[in-house]
């Protein structure tokens, strides 16, 4: 047998990009389960629908780009994008909303920029932002948690068939009224002249339904901790992001508790936890070095608070992440680690720093 010649190292860790992506998918399961439990079948249907679309678009575009289709499908990156987008969408989002979203994410935001690893913006968030701007009604009509739908029944979610009909067949007005409602962020934003304390007592989604969001957030944290444990990403981005959001909201809450919501609320509603562990940690679009990731995370947390408090949209994770994606290359230039044997870290791109 002829001896092969190759360059060192001759050993490789048994892992692959596909493994990494599958691990991420695995980590989304608790969140998906919680969403399904509290908001019904809609999210699950969306996830499956979006994944199918993503695989389809990915295959088509790979064919167009003359790349080996199955080889690249095996990296699961398209599925991860689709799942994250579907988790962010309202559970009853219509089929075409998802379709548009996945198309934008896979074709426009990813492959038009050169495919996996080359996209400057997080594809799922590009799609989400585009949908939010283009279809604000569909995107802000959130499902009410089952506890608010019927207090008598133990799990009064819309049946699977009805949900499918709702997503793929168009909306039934009666069902809309019964099963939809504002998100806590929306409710607090549009509370009128109520103080936060009054809103907490009087608005049902805050008074009774908030637990659903807490639970979903907790599920995402579980997934995130799992990924940290598996070293899919480092602690730097989520901790920096959550930390800066917590610090900022605490400061404002301490000054004027009647107007500003408490930090725990900020951390546990909306897309905060999904963003912190699944969106901001997307390595392709984030800053590279550990130090850079801290700056990147802090930026996201800061922007989330600013946009949520003073911006025009109820949630801010997508915009915050996209804005920080813009800054990542710049952050990279100024956060190189100090190399072994060097007195200080290099800065910038040229050897003049």
């Amino acid at each position: 047998m002829a001896l092969i010649r190759s360059s060192s190292p001759h050993l490789h860790k048994v892992n692959s990009t596909g493994d990494v992506m599958r691990t991420v998918l695995l980590a989304t399961l608790p969140g998906l389960a919680a969403m399904t439990f509290f908001f019904g079948w809609g999210t699950l249907i969306n996830v499956i629908w979006a994944s199918l679309l993503a695989v389809g678009f990915e295959a088509a575009i790979m064919k167009l780009r003359n790349r080996p289709v199955s080889f690249y499908l095996k990296d699961y990156s398209a599925v991860v994008t689709a799942v994250l987008l579907a988790l962010a969408l309202p559970p009853f989002a219509a089929w075409w909303v998802t379709l548009v979203g996945v198309f934008v994410a896979i074709v426009v935001a990813k492959h038009l920029y050169g495919g996996l690893g080359q996209n400057p913006f997080n594809p799922a968030m590009v799609a989400y932002a585009l949908l939010l701007i283009s279809f604000p009604v569909e995107m802000t009509r959130w499902t009410a948690p089952f506890v608010l739908v019927d207090a008598e029944s133990s799990w009064s979610v819309l049946s699977l068939g009805d949900t499918l009909a709702m997503i793929f067949g168009g909306l039934d007005a009666s069902m809309i009224d019964t099963y939809t409602g504002a998100t806590p962020l929306d409710a607090l934003r549009h509370r009128g002249g109520l103080t936060t304390e009054e809103a907490w007592r009087q608005v049902p989604v805050l008074a009774d339904g908030i637990g659903a969001w807490h639970a979903v957030s907790a599920a995402y944290v579980m997934g995130g901790v799992f990924l940290l444990y598996r070293k899919v990403f480092t602690w730097h981005t989520p901790v920096a992001m959550l930390g800066s959001l917590a610090v900022l909201s605490t400061l404002f809450f301490a000054v004027e508790p009647d107007y500003f919501p408490d930090p725990f609320f900020h951390l546990t509603v909306g897309g905060t936890m999904l963003g912190a562990f699944f969106i901001a940690t997307d390595p392709v679009t984030a800053a590279t070095s550990n130090k850079g990731k801290i700056y990147y995370g802090i930026g996201i947390g800061l922007l989330i608070f600013v946009i949520r408090t003073w911006g025009g949209y109820p949630d801010a994770v997508a915009f915050a992440v996209l804005l920080m994606n813009l800054t990542a290359p710049f952050i990279d230039q100024y956060t190189q680690p100090r190399t072994y044997g060097h007195a200080k870290a290099n800065r910038g791109m040229k050897g003049d720093a």
Partner: protein, 997 residues
């Protein structure tokens, strides 16, 4: 216990060490043939000492080191040299290299060998050289000659010796087994290293996955007098990397681009320590090493004591290889080792492991996916780089950025490639980028050299062009000149070319004017029908001739552009001019007289001419007198000849004139008075030329046989030779220290140079002795260069002293050297001083110092005074302004004052000497008078200026007045000097005529 530090990153690949560390180290069979590459280490390949066909014994040196970084090569067993030529060597590229091939005879016959009885009795360099000659190079992997590292104690302060026993690469157990079985020997080797480096602390770094080896080491270390710690480090790749281990054990980072010794640390591998022990205590050179043979394709995975040069196939056969399953053959570990594509490749000094892997064990790398910037590589990079960024830059050929991201700090450990989920061959990218950058730089360098060469060539061509042009011009000029001189060869005197252009111009103009006048007179006389027409015609012709001559001379001088050398030629020309003017005057006078007598017309005109000519004559005479009165430069020997000729010519002329006079007297014709005057003039001339000749002869004759100027080049030669000797000696010493093979040659060269120096010195001393023994005194001018030498030497001494002090204050290591240099310079200064003083004494002892000396001294003195005044003014200024330099300046003033005093004293001494010496020569008197006159003129001028200033109330008036007083003082001095010399001030015009000529 040593505190453990940590390094960034690192990975935990499957260890795969169990397979091979179960059995004890066994000797490998002696193969039929050994292949010994000449370059088994970093540095220059060794030079073979054997020929094909030679029988060699085990341990015999078969190749010797060449250059600083190189080691010897020994025969690992007895046998016959069958080939010296290119064979496949263990290299990533699979290339061939020069090898010595030995057919073994199986007798394994040792050459006579014995260890050093007590290595501590040897000097360090002897011991290190012994290790070098034992062929020991680093056995950890890089193969750096060990002796070079052991020399590090010479110019580095080595605090810590680290013994690398980490063996972090998977699969390899050679060091592990070596420690288990030969810990005592390793410790013996460490003792030798410690003896050479004298570290204060010795750390043995070992990974915690070798418990038996750790125990063995701890047992061996117990009770050792050295300060040794066995530090167990957690198993993590690449903790065995030199830089990583240093960080791990000491917390110190080796600065980028430096070596560990720069931070006081030296690393040695355990295998190297063992080899040193074998060499020092048993006299066995490095001819075998422990090699791990492992991998799934061999049935027996074990460690063998293998002779260097054993081909892999013999080892694989000894390990029961399954060739059909052998897929990848790796030398070294799986992380940094390289694949071999031939089993013929031999074991070398750095071969620690051979992995015979199956395809399942080490499958080919899967195709690479896109980088998703997951950052896992960054987390494991032990050099704290950003591997993924480097990957992008390498891929995009953005090498500047890659360099900025410290690409060259990458140690190519492979950790990033190992963890990369996209299976990107990162290390390959980096190696490629590094190679490209190196090539780029080499090309840049090449281009730079090419540019420099091109520019140098351009400059040379340009220079040649210019020179050619100049030569052409010079030739053309030469030709023109030759033509001109040919034309006027009759009239033109050779000296004419030297004449002052200005003077010639004036002379030409004067001549032209005269010509015109003479022409006019001639015409007038012709018209009037004068008797003396013929005479006038002759006068006119003469004038015409003169005018032409003058014009020619002027043109020549102008063309030649040669500035007139003030001196004899000038005076001659002036004299001629004066004589001509006189003649003309006489002729014109005669003509006038004749005309007056005959009552002709044009008398008025002639009279005018005569008056004018009179004035001219006077002017010419005065110019001549002035020129003669001016101090003539020291007559060079060649001048004597000229003077002699002049004297002879003058004598001839005198005779001619006398004859003419006699003739005239006899015949009663012509102007007897004029002839008489001419005779007298010629007599005077003869006397003066004779005197000048005699004077010159005396002066010249007095000069020593070897002119003093001869000494300088001799001395220079001698000094040059000395400098060469010193340089060569330093180089030779340096070479000897480094043990270069050229040292001997250099030493011989030094001896040769020294011989030359001795010769030069002898020549110089001979010349000196001759000079000294030669009659009266070297000319005074000799003193000046000596003094200069002395002063220069003093200045150098002071500078060097200051530098040395500075260095000493700062505690620089060069201070000692500098001090020695200062002493050397001091010695030179002393010499120079002595030479100067000798010369001075000689001069002083010699007869009347020449006047020129006095002038020089005076000039010196005045210059010194001027300096003092200037410095004082500056110092005052500084003091007023409170500048911090004021003090220094004041000191400088004092120094200058001292110098001035010296100069003054010297001047006064010389003056006295001069005064005491016999009657000052006539020339001296004239000089003094000129001085005096000049001084008087100055006084008058200054006085007038001062008065003027005072009248205008200018603020400078006071200063000017003071200046006038000073000048007046000088004038008084000059006057008294002149009077003392015998001059009479009152009727100076007469004095002039009396003393001059």
């Amino acid at each position: 216990m040593t505190r453990l530090h940590s390094f960034h990153g690192g990975i935990h690949p499957p260890e795969n060490k169990r397979q091979s560390n179960g059995a004890p180290i066994a000797p490998a069979p002696i193969p039929a043939q050994l292949v010994l590459p000449l370059s088994q280490h970093i540095g220059a390949p060794a030079e073979p000492l054997v020929k094909v066909g030679d029988r060699v014994l085990k341990g015999q040196v078969i190749a010797e080191p060449i250059g600083r970084i190189s080691v010897s090569l020994h025969a690992p067993t007895s046998g016959t040299i069958v080939e010296i030529g290119p064979r496949r060597v263990p290299h990533a590229s699979g290339m061939e290299g020069p090898c010595i091939v030995i057919d073994t005879d199986g007798q394994d016959e040792w050459i006579e060998h014995a260890g050093l009885e007590d290595y501590t009795q040897y000097s360090k360099s002897e011991l290190i050289n012994y290790i070098r000659n034992s062929g020991i190079a680093g056995m950890g992997g890089a193969g750096f000659p060990t002796d070079v590292k052991l020399h590090l104690g010479d110019d580095h302060i080595v605090n810590t010796l680290i013994i690398n026993a980490a063996e972090c690469e998977p699969y390899i157990t050679a060091d592990d087994m070596l420690i288990r079985e030969r810990a005592a020997q390793i410790l013996g080797g460490i003792e030798v290293i410690a003896h050479l480096l004298q570290p204060s602390h010795i750390l043995i770094g070992i990974e915690d996955n070798k418990p038996q080896a750790i125990r063995a080491l701890e047992d061996a270390v117990r009770g050792n007098r050295l300060n040794i710690d066995v530090v167990v480090v957690p198993t993590k790749y690449p903790s065995g990397g030199e830089k990583q281990l240093i960080k791990l054990l000491t917390g110190v980072e080796v600065p980028s681009g430096k070596i560990p010794a720069d931070v006081g640390i030296v690393c040695q591998n355990v295998g190297t320590a063992n080899a040193i022990y074998r060499a020092v205590h048993h006299g066995e050179p490095l001819i075998s090493r422990v090699v791990t043979i492992t991998g799934d394709a061999v049935n027996q995975r074990h460690n063998l004591d293998v002779l260097i040069g054993t081909p892999y196939k013999d080892l694989l056969n000894a390990s029961d290889v399954r060739r059909d399953e052998l897929y990848r053959l790796v030398m070294g570990g799986p992380m940094m080792g390289f694949t071999m594509n031939s089993e013929e490749i031999p074991v070398v000094k750095t071969t620690n492991c051979i992995i015979a892997a199956t395809e399942e064990e080490m499958p080919p790398a899967p195709p690479a996916l896109s980088c998703i910037r997951c950052g896992m590589c960054e987390q494991v990079c032990p050099a704290e780089l950003l591997p993924q960024q480097l990957h992008w830059f390498a891929k995009g050929k953005e090498y500047e950025k890659a360099k900025h991201h410290n690409l060259f700090d990458c140690i190519e450990c492979g950790a990033c490639s190992f963890v990369c989920p996209s299976n990107i061959p990162l290390v390959q990218y980096y190696r490629n980028a590094k190679a490209e950058i190196r090539q780029e730089e080499a090309e840049k360098q090449k281009a730079e050299y090419a540019r420099m060469r091109f520019e140098a060539r351009q400059a040379r061509l340009e220079q040649e062009k210019i020179e050619k042009e100049l030569r052409r011009k010079a030739r053309a000029e030469e030709a023109a000149k030759a033509q001109a001189s040919k034309k006027d060869s009759a009239a033109a005197k050779p000296a004419a070319a030297q004449d002052n252009v200005k003077a010639l111009k004036t002379a030409a103009a004067v001549a032209r004017t005269k010509l015109k006048k003479a022409e006019k007179a001639f015409l007038a006389a012709q018209e009037s029908g004068a008797d003396n027409l013929a005479e006038l015609e002759a006068a006119f012709k003469v004038a015409e001739q003169k005018a032409q001559d003058a014009q020619t001379k002027l043109e020549q001088a102008e063309k030649g552009g040669a500035p007139a050398a003030a001196g004899a030629p000038d005076i001659k020309a002036l004299k001629t001019a004066a004589a001509v003017a006189r003649t003309k005057l006489k002729k014109a006078q005669t003509a006038l007289k004749a005309a007056e007598e005959k009552g002709q017309d044009g008398v008025e005109q002639l009279r005018d001419t005569v008056t004018e000519l009179e004035a001219k004559s006077e002017a010419a005479q005065k110019a001549y007198d002035d020129a003669q009165a001016a101090p003539a430069p020291v007559a060079a020997p060649v001048d004597i000849k000229q003077l002699k000729t002049a004297a002879a010519v003058a004598r001839t002329k005198l005779k001619q004139a006398e004859k003419a006079l006699a003739n005239a007297q006899d015949s009663g014709e012509g102007d007897i008075a004029a002839l008489e005057a001419k005779v007298k003039e010629q007599q005077a001339k003869v006397e003066s030329t004779q005197k000048a000749f005699e004077d010159a002869e005396q002066g010249g004759g007095a000069a020593p046989a070897t002119p003093a100027i001869d000494l300088a080049p001799l001395k220079e030669d001698m000094e040059k030779a000395l400098a060469k000797v010193e340089k060569a000696e330093v180089a030779a010493k340096n070479a000897e220290e480094k043990g270069l093979p050229t040292a001997e040659k250099m030493r011989a060269g030094v001896d040769k140079l020294r011989g030359k120096y001795e010769e030069a010195k002898k020549a110089f001393e001979d010349a000196q002795a001759q000079n000294a023994s030669a009659a009266p005194a070297k000319p005074a001018i000799d003193l000046a260069p000596l003094k200069e030498d002395m002063e220069k030497a003093l200045a150098k001494v002071k500078k060097a002293d200051a530098a040395a002090k500075n260095a000493e204050e700062k505690g620089l290591p060069t201070a000692e050297k500098m001090r020695a240099g200062v002493e050397k310079l001091q010695g030179k200064y002393e010499e120079a001083k002595k030479a100067f003083e000798d010369a001075q004494a000689q001069n002083a002892a010699s007869a009347p110092a020449p006047t020129v000396n006095l002038d020089e001294l005076k000039a010196d003195m005045e210059a010194a005074r001027g300096k003092v005044e200037k410095a004082e003014a500056a110092a005052k200024n500084a003091e007023e302004k409170g500048l911090p330099t004021a003090e220094k300046m004041r000191a400088g003033v004092a120094k200058l004052q001292g110098k001035y005093e010296e100069a003054k004293k010297a001047f006064e001494d010389a003056q006295q000497q001069n005064a005491a010496s016999a009657p000052a020569p006539a020339a001296n008197l004239a000089e003094l008078k000129a001085d005096m006159d000049a001084a008087r003129g100055k006084v008058e001028k200054a006085d007038a200026a001062a008065k003027n200033a005072e009248a205008k109330g200018l603020p400078t008036a006071e200063k000017m007045r003071a200046g006038v007083e000073k000048l007046r003082g000088k004038y008084e001095e000059a006057r008294s000097a002149y009077e003392a010399a015998g001059g009479v001030v009152e009727n100076n015009t007469e004095a002039d005529t009396v003393t001059l000529d």
